[in-house]
Symmetry: C2
Subunit: 339 residues, 2 copies
DNA sequence: AATCTGAACGCAAACGCTTGCGCAACAGGA
DNA sequence: TCCTGTTGCGCAAGCGTTTGCGTTCAGATT
């Protein structure tokens, strides 16, 4: 049926071992013979069976990538860039989309990934048990989302500093009542919301502004959540004159809520986001940009390097640069009375 | 090291064959014995090696998904929903991201997917050679993007009808100069741009409007392309009073261009898109919605069904419903003079 | 009591590759 | 001429499953 290694061995008049060595560039084959074998393989359209070779060698040439939700821009973008690095290096990518709790549980109990991958890139924050399960695989581990765990190499950004620059911008414009749309209800082990919140609090403290718990609303890191959160903030007796959304998606939800309330941005309310979503430029959202694709690339490269020289533990964490991006959703506070 | 089937066999005092049968629910094992084996396997934390089992059985329990660009909303969403179906059915997903021409060529010449998957879902339009290469794999094939090829089962939408409803809406509002932002330069084998264009032309003809080639601009199905295209249209001596963008992403680019030109939407120019991107609601874009996630699910299910009953060729094509969504970017034409 | 019938399980041969080791053949040095 | 390396290749033993077939044995059938 399909052509196997012995077929090309027979076609060349050598043994299967030699074919194997020749095709993988292993020493012990004369250049002339190698050329003949390569030619024969090409002609027959031979490709080694991955199952067989990984059974025999233990190497799978496959990387597992686990993500909470492929459809979201951030994860899709990281996955996209990481996959390119992997496939360029000859690795395949096994994707696990663990959005629902059931899928997640199924994955971590059955660990279908076991013996199937040489390394894993996790774009979701494993809790302690899950992290242990991943470590039990005995392969290099990496992540691009806040919340380092022992055994993982992590590439990320300065969330706190980023939040600071966003909020400082609002303060500099003259805002005093600054709301925040956060992700308080996010999984505990995800440190990003905490770090960004800390940046927010830092700047307020620095500016001598008393933080008001009522000005923090939970947006769950989604567009709809952001819309709900903004709506809550607007219902306050003294609504904020500016809000810092911990993600651009929530910021967009906020913009939508503001439009619904017939409030102008930035004249009535300023909004600043975080991430620099691909569509943020389209809506003119002021935000702090993080190099999402670059993070995926970096993490992938770290994993590959780790695989090549499995000398020791995980490489040290990498922090990628961020950049404040001024667009059109921020301005000095409205000086008249609100609404 | 890691536990193998013989370990659980010894632990239970039976042969490996029995363990294999027991764990996979094959007949020939008493219920009592099966229970003992399952318990032992659970305790030892045993999972069958995929490489070994697929080498022995020929089944890989893996589906290949090839996509042009995971980061784009449409593909990410389809992938997301399809993956859920596959993994729920016990299949893993092997992802191939073929954005760049090099990656694409590498994939189709080396066919790393060969012998690794039981079926493939293609979200990119293969040209004739590529389609042949995929067919040579001898596994079920499916696609969710226009441009059916023999041997593929396809799930899609009525692109032409969708475009018609969008453009008819503009006509009904009273527009006569209706521009279109298309994807003329897209790969030849992708029929979507053609079908959507045909819908546009149909309605114009129906309304007795002479189509003006100058009103068609290429947006390449990207945000930036849409912005460029809209800019071109605005530079016309007689710019359109409304534009139909063949995708929401291009529509958003158009909105951006309009904002840059200080034109109001919909007062000065109406815009209607196609797809119902997740952020279209945020920007209030009038569009025609297609069930993207549902298409991924459907395609995945078709593949699984095909795998279960490999009686014949591909199942018949499935057409999913579309729906016109009226939002805030369309209105009757400005009656005064433009600008 | 002899025979037959399933059910439950073990044997052993694949599956298609990788790899340590062995063995010619040949080259160069003494 | 003999010895010591090298080079180039084949042998065969795995890798961890699956599966066709054979065996055993308890119970049913004559």
């Amino acid at each position: 049926m399909t052509v196997s290694i012995t077929d090309v061995a027979e076609a060349t008049g050598v043994s299967a071992s030699t074919v194997s060595r020749a095709l993988r560039g292993r020493p012990g084959v004369s250049e002339e013979m190698r050329a003949r074998i390569v030619a024969a393989a090409a002609e027959l359209g031979y490709t080694a069976s991955r199952s067989a070779s990984s059974l025999a060698s233990g190497r799978t040439y496959t990387i597992g990538v686990v993500v909470p939700y492929v459809g979201r821009w951030f994860f899709g973008t990281v996955l996209d860039s990481a996959e390119k690095v992997f496939s360029a290096a000859g690795y395949d990518v096994l994707l696990y989309n663990l959005g629902s709790p059931e899928a997640r549980k199924r994955f971590f109990t059955k660990l279908p990934i076991r013996k199937r991958v040489d390394a894993v890139l996790s774009l979701l924050i494993p809790d302690l048990e899950e992290a242990a399960a991943l470590r039990s695989l005995g392969v290099p581990l990496a992540t691009t989302v806040g919340g380092a765990r022992p055994g993982f190499t992590v590439v990320g950004i300065d969330d706190r500093g980023g939040a600071e620059s966003a909020v400082r911008h609002l303060v500099n414009l003259g805002h005093r009542r600054i709301g925040m749309i956060s992700g308080a209800s996010e999984p505990l082990h995800w440190t990003t919301p905490l770090d960004r919140r800390q940046g927010y609090l830092d700047v307020l403290a620095d500016a001598g502004i008393e933080p008001d718990p009522a000005l923090e609303a939970d947006g769950g890191y989604t567009v709809e959540g952001g819309e709900r959160a903004m709506t809550e903030l607007l219902a306050l007796r003294h609504p904020p004159t500016a809000v810092f959304a911990q993600s651009d998606e929530m910021a967009m939800g906020a913009l939508r809520a503001l439009r619904r309330h017939r409030l102008r941005v930035p004249e009535d309310v300023s909004v600043v986001g975080f991430d620099d979503h691909e569509l943020s430029e389209v809506v003119g959202l002021t935000t702090v940009a993080q190099p999402v694709a670059a993070q995926g690339r970096e993490a992938a490269q770290l994993l590959l390097a780790w695989l090549d020289g499995p000398d020791a533990g995980p490489p040290p964490p990498v922090e990628m640069p961020i950049r404040f991006v001024l667009r059109e959703t921020t301005a000095p506070p409205h000086t008249g009375r609100q609404r």
